[in-house]
């Protein structure tokens, strides 16, 4: 494998990891606050549909992004209503949201566009274009650094940079601000937060809504960044890979970056080499596709560094008598 191929694979990994990273951070906010979310997939899907539809109608990717965020946030609100306000089962609520998105996107898409659940192809300003960073072209001739900067660092849509910027931002929010302190506390011991005079419900809702916003960006990136329009079931399990990455990352922001990069890289490699020949054995692409899930099970099993979820995760908060 030569250097150019490596750069290409890494570049592709960056594109593929972006929705995973956004969704993973989305899940991080929600789960750090004690609300499990297996509905990342559904929220992304809804956002992808909403953003593609509005981007097509208005010709603006930015309005599409807003619509995507609104669509995902609406489902996040539903999740909050069910699992925080009515203290319902968070897992079941997540399952319901996934189905709701899966059904609604096709139903509405068919009604609006009549294309069997697809939106028409987007072009021009209805998509997020690739941004060429300053000096990308002039630095290109430099050995190693040049191609890395021009191909790998430069030339992505704005949403990719947003996703990467979210990592340090999330870290800072979580560990350096009042909101972050309370957020982490409410996922570990909601009673402490409550007795300290802080509303558990409001905090958890805030976290769930942030989760919705980030899923919205992730979905918009899928439909208006990496591809040109919405296709039925286009998230294709990315919400669950993000969930796996979250466990892999042990619910930490920098870990999320590493885990989603790893998973993005696997996908990029599987795309590039359907049957990866390692000399001794040939790795079929199916194994590469399944690897994120297999690795997550191994991590969950605790054989390689135990992943311990937030202690109050999954439990609705009820005041003790």
């Amino acid at each position: 494998m030569d250097f150019a191929t490596l750069i290409q694979i890494l570049d592709s990994a960056v594109r593929l990891m972006t929705p995973l990273l956004l969704a993973c951070l989305a899940g991080l906010y929600s789960e750090r606050a004690g609300v499990f979310d297996i509905g990342l997939e559904g929220k992304m899907l809804m956002a992808a549909f909403a953003s593609a539809s509005v981007a097509y109608a208005t010709g603006s990717a930015w309005l599409g992004l807003l619509a995507g965020i609104a669509g995902a946030a609406a489902l996040a609100g539903l999740h909050g209503l069910a699992s925080i306000s009515f203290r319902g089962n968070q897992l079941i609520s997540g399952v319901a949201i996934n189905f709701l998105a899966s059904g609604l996107t096709v139903l509405l898409g068919q009604k609006i566009f009549g294309l069997g659940g697809r939106t028409p192809s987007l072009s021009g300003a209805a998509r997020f274009g690739e941004i060429t960073l300053p000096f990308a072209e002039s630095l290109r001739p430099l050995p190693v650094i040049g191609p890395v900067y021009a191909e790998l660092v430069s030339g992505h849509t704005i949403l990719v940079y947003v996703a990467f910027a979210m990592v340090p931002l999330t870290w800072w929010m979580l560990y350096r601000t009042r909101f972050g302190l309370r957020l982490r506390a409410v996922g570990e011991s909601p009673a402490s937060v409550d007795t300290a005079g802080v509303s558990v419900i409001r905090l958890r809702f805030a976290a769930v809504m942030i989760c919705g916003v980030l899923c919205g960006i992730a979905g918009a990136y899928l439909a208006t960044g990496i591809s040109a329009g919405f296709v039925k079931e286009m998230t294709a399990g990315r919400g669950f890979i993000a969930l796996a990455a979250l466990i892999f990352a042990k619910w930490r922001p920098w870990g999320a970056l590493g885990a989603t990069f790893l998973f993005g890289l696997m996908e990029a490699v599987a795309n590039r080499f359907p049957n990866l020949d390692l000399g001794v054995v040939t790795v079929p692409s199916m194994l590469m596709n399944a690897l994120p899930y297999i690795l997550t099970v191994v991590i969950l099993a605790g054989f390689v560094g135990r992943a311990i979820p937030p202690r109050a995760g999954g439990e609705p908060y009820v005041k003790e008598r």
Partner: protein, 519 residues
């Protein structure tokens, strides 16, 4: 002119559904005093304090702080009114540092750096002033229970609390830790803070409070100066009649040893040694009582004998039933039952019963594999029901409806379900933990009689209770446990409460009993 009292409650009432938890409560607590509130479990103490801390809204009544009426809608309002609370179950985030726990909810501004810096300084000052030393950077989960409690007090003081409420603060403390706590409370009082101490321990009331209020069944029955009263009077007020826990029982005629325990040690998953070499023997036809403050290894002893040692525990020593050694490790509950050990567990709701199961299903819990309940490969539900109906009649369980879920019965009737199930198996050895905790007087007498009847039928009984009166009334021999050890053995007829009390506090009386089993 006298200063307005720090706290005044007027006519506070609170009901949960049909249960009247607080009824027209009046209370006056002068500034700069330690005020005890005493009462049995379920008397309404915790509810009252939760109202004061804004956890519940009262149905009626008024709260005055420093003579001014205040509305305490939530914890935030309580904190603003200068009230701090140390809950019985600490409200700490286990994987946060002490500093982060102290700051949580009382931050200065949106960013943490400043808050943490100020808190660090405050903690240093408070440590020096009141003897509240804690490492600010330690994780709370790594601290001892006593230190965690200090963090709770620090949290309240950091929020500038003038009134500090402590709910059963010594239940989880060793006597040394409790003494240290009391020193802290006295110095806080001397600084002008007002302290409310909720407890059911008479000794503590006498030791540290200026005034004491007694609650019973949701009502405030008396408020007196501590110096003008005594434990006997308080106890009488608490239960509403002379404490005459006397059980009519014939003289014990002990036979051969049923259970022998030798050198039993247990180290829990955290590496703490909970049992430090227990030696004991129970003979047929006797009740061996184990007295002690909760948390000195009694729970672990019962769990090990019952065949379900805590997860991750390391065990050593020997247990023999009828002379035959029993395996220690692993889940032995089933085998122990088959070997003839019955067990009324300390916590009936978490262990003894499946609260969502019906009474008839619960009557077979633990014995669901008994041959008389099987019919071929299936369970004989008709046999289970018939068996349950008999027990309900014989134990006067009310309402006598076998199809009712366990959670729908009162505490006393729930306990009767457990006792009926375990006693009627006619075990060679019955383990009994806190048999009358949260049980009404009528059911207490009934349960006590059944335990004595089992003894008179020649069975062995191991009774663990934190209620000294219960031990004194029921036991034929008393062992006192402290810090995972047996401190000494006494006969109820000869022992005094004071003597047992000092053993329970880990103090060997000057005249040690020769020939005792103490190890």
């Amino acid at each position: 002119m006298t200063a307005a009292p720090a706290i005044e409650l007027r006519g506070i009432s609170k009901a949960f559904g049909p249960v009247q938890a607080n009824r027209a409560i009046d209370l006056v607590v002068p500034r700069g005093t330690i005020h005890g509130i005493i009462g049995e479990n379920g008397a309404g103490k915790s509810t009252l304090m939760s109202i004061l801390y804004g956890f519940y809204r009262p149905d009626a009544g008024q709260i005055l702080i420093d003579g001014k009426p205040v509305a305490i809608a939530d914890s935030q309002a309580a904190i603003r009114a200068g009230i701090g609370m140390v809950f019985q179950h600490f409200k700490l985030v286990p994987n946060f540092t002490v500093l982060e726990n102290v700051v949580l909810g009382a931050e200065d501004g949106r960013f943490l750096r400043r808050s943490l810096a100020r808190a660090r300084g405050e903690l240093k000052r408070l440590a020096a002033e009141y003897g509240l030393q804690v490492d600010p950077d330690a994780l709370v989960e790594d601290l001892s229970v006593g230190h965690q409690q200090r963090v709770e007090i620090l949290k309240a003081l950091y929020r500038r609390a003038d009134i500090l409420i402590l709910d059963e603060p010594t239940g989880v403390l060793t006597p040394a830790e409790a003494d240290h706590l009391f020193r802290i409370l006295r110095s806080l009082r001397d600084e002008g803070k007002t302290i409310i101490l909720i407890t059911h321990k008479l000794r503590e009331i006498m030791q540290i409070t200026e005034n004491v209020s007694v609650m019973r069944r949701g009502e405030m029955v008396a408020s007196v100066r501590t110096a003008g009263t005594g434990p006997a009077e308080l106890a009488e007020l608490m239960v509403g009649r002379k404490v005459l826990l006397r059980v009519e029982k014939p003289l014990a005629r002990p036979g051969a040893p049923v259970l022998e325990v030798q050198g039993l040690r247990m180290v829990d998953a955290e590496g703490v040694e909970r049992l430090r070499g227990i030696d004991l023997a129970i003979r047929a036809g006797e009740i061996l009582g184990i007295a002690g403050v909760a948390g000195n290894g009694q729970t672990q002893l019962l769990e090990i004998l019952g065949g379900y040692p805590p997860a991750g525990a390391t065990l050593s020593g020997e247990i023999r039933l009828g002379g035959r050694p029993l395996p220690l490790a692993g889940s032995q509950g089933r085998a122990r039952r088959r070997a003839g050990i019955g067990h009324v567990p300390e916590d009936r709701q978490a262990e003894g019963l499946i609260m969502d199961f019906t009474a008839w299903e619960n009557m077979a819990f633990g014995y669901q594999d008994a041959p008389q309940f099987q019919r071929g490969p299936l369970m004989d539900n008709a046999a289970l029901r018939a068996d349950a109906m008999g027990k309900i009649a014989r134990f006067d369980i009310r309402p006598p409806d076998p199809d009712l879920a366990a959670k729908s019965f009162s505490g006393g009737n729930q306990q009767k379900i457990v006792v009926a199930r375990e006693v009627e198996r006619d075990p060679d050895l019955l383990l009994v933990g806190q048999p009358t905790r949260g049980v009404d007087i009528g059911a207490i007498e009934f349960i006590h009689k059944r335990i004595v009847a089992l003894r008179d039928a020649g069975r062995a009984v191991l009774l663990v209770s934190v209620e000294l009166d219960e031990i004194m009334a029921l036991a034929d021999r008393i062992l006192v446990m402290f810090d995972g050890r047996i401190m000494g053995e006494r006969l109820p007829a000869e022992a005094t409460a004071a003597e047992l009390g000092s053993l329970m506090a880990g103090v060997e009386p000057a005249r040690a009993d020769a020939g005792g089993i103490a190890g």
